[in-house]
Symmetry: C2
Subunit: 235 residues, 2 copies
């Protein structure tokens, strides 16, 4: 079966959230005369994301989008770091730093090459509005923007991957999931999709060891999007 | 309230379905040595679309996508025109002519101008897979591809317009519907969206008079996408 579409995880796979978020929170801290380890702050903020999504998938809470999940964690973190009361407008602006993340250096070039041969789409836990803003900001040339939000569940729920293939009017094996996280690629494989693992060893800077794909488990292992394009035979 | 996103009807508004379909059915007829008025054939094929969608909105049938609606009408039309038995593969290829429609001459240039200032998205009754194929074929530079399919109803059901605004994380009045059909723009207005009517006097060639917008009813009336971009202040 020929691969027709590539679905990309976004946070960490396409964009370098940690560098962008660290820069934004550091500037915010400076403005309010608060000092902290801003890389840790960014990592902490990101951690709230997983637990917030797990609550949705476990049925503990109704669907809530990533802006809301980020905002709850941000409020806790700002209080813990002794920030003074901040105007709502400014908090909202900071929370939307997750809409303004820089792409990894190879991402746009690699996506443009892949786009010549395949439909390229997001399949992110970020909500659609966030992904559309991010694509404009970072010049990500998606053919289509898909989000977990459309299926009302978060990855790695298998319903998310199945919904994406179905809404593209493709069978699961015509679709390849591309991600830098083993749990995401594993779940896509369970849902019947083809799989590509792309390493992003700098996702967590020096704070965490790079994720490594289990040997031979995925259809493709690539070092970046240009390498993925090479392995898929793109010009 | 500032407009942030423009939603575009596609068939007739962005692409010239009649010229493209007429060309494809004429070539198909020639290959099978059948003669007919191919413009009428195209118009007839298109008419099946409205009744097929109305059946869904009226609850007479389950959701079915536009490929399926087109195919049912195509089978009837081919039989009525005395075509011999055709291979399934070839029928499917012909049915997908609706994925390969040419854009109106001003469309891509106008969309690129509008894209600098707004999120530009489809909001079509075509299903998502069809719209993605069409965008690649016709170089339509969408930020996002939205379809009635996502809400399980067809335009002009108001749920379609409301869903689109909500999934973009915008309020209805931050979104403008752009279409060449009064019924579509009227429904968008009822759903609280801003509205732009673009005239496409050649949609039905000489077979039908051009649609005219009721005077003063819509926020913008434009002669094409460049005029729309001018009126919205785009560079």
């Amino acid at each position: 079966m020929v691969i027709k579409a590539l679905l990309f995880d976004v946070f960490g796979t396409v964009v370098d959230w940690r560098t962008s978020i660290t820069r934004e929170v550091a500037a915010f801290g400076q403005r309010h005369r608060v000092t902290a380890d801003w890389e840790s702050f960014a990592d902490n903020w990101r951690e709230g994301y997983s637990s917030g999504m797990a609550q949705v998938n476990d049925g503990e809470v109704e669907w809530r989008n990533v802006d809301r999940i980020h905002r709850e964690r941000l409020d806790l973190l700002l209080a813990a770091h002794g920030f003074p009361k901040i105007a709502e407008y400014e908090l909202d602006q900071l929370n939307r730093a997750w809409h303004r993340l820089d792409a990894w250096p190879d991402a746009v070039e690699g996506l443009l090459r892949l786009k010549s041969d395949f439909v390229i789409s997001t399949l992110s836990n970020g909500h659609l509005g966030l992904l559309v803003n991010m694509a404009k900001q970072a010049s990500l040339p998606w053919d289509c923007v898909l989000s977990s939000e459309l299926s009302g569940r978060y990855k790695p729920d298998l319903a998310v991957y199945r919904y994406a293939a179905r809404i593209l009017d493709l069978s699961a094996e015509e679709v390849m999931m591309v991600a830098a996280h083993v749990f995401d690629v594993e779940a896509a494989a369970q849902a019947g999709l083809r799989t590509a693992f792309v390493s992003r060893p700098l996702e967590y800077g020096n704070a965490r060891a790079a994720e490594v794909a289990p040997a031979g488990r995925f259809d493709i292992e690539a070092t970046d999007f240009n390498d993925l394009a090479n392995q898929l035979g793109c010009a």
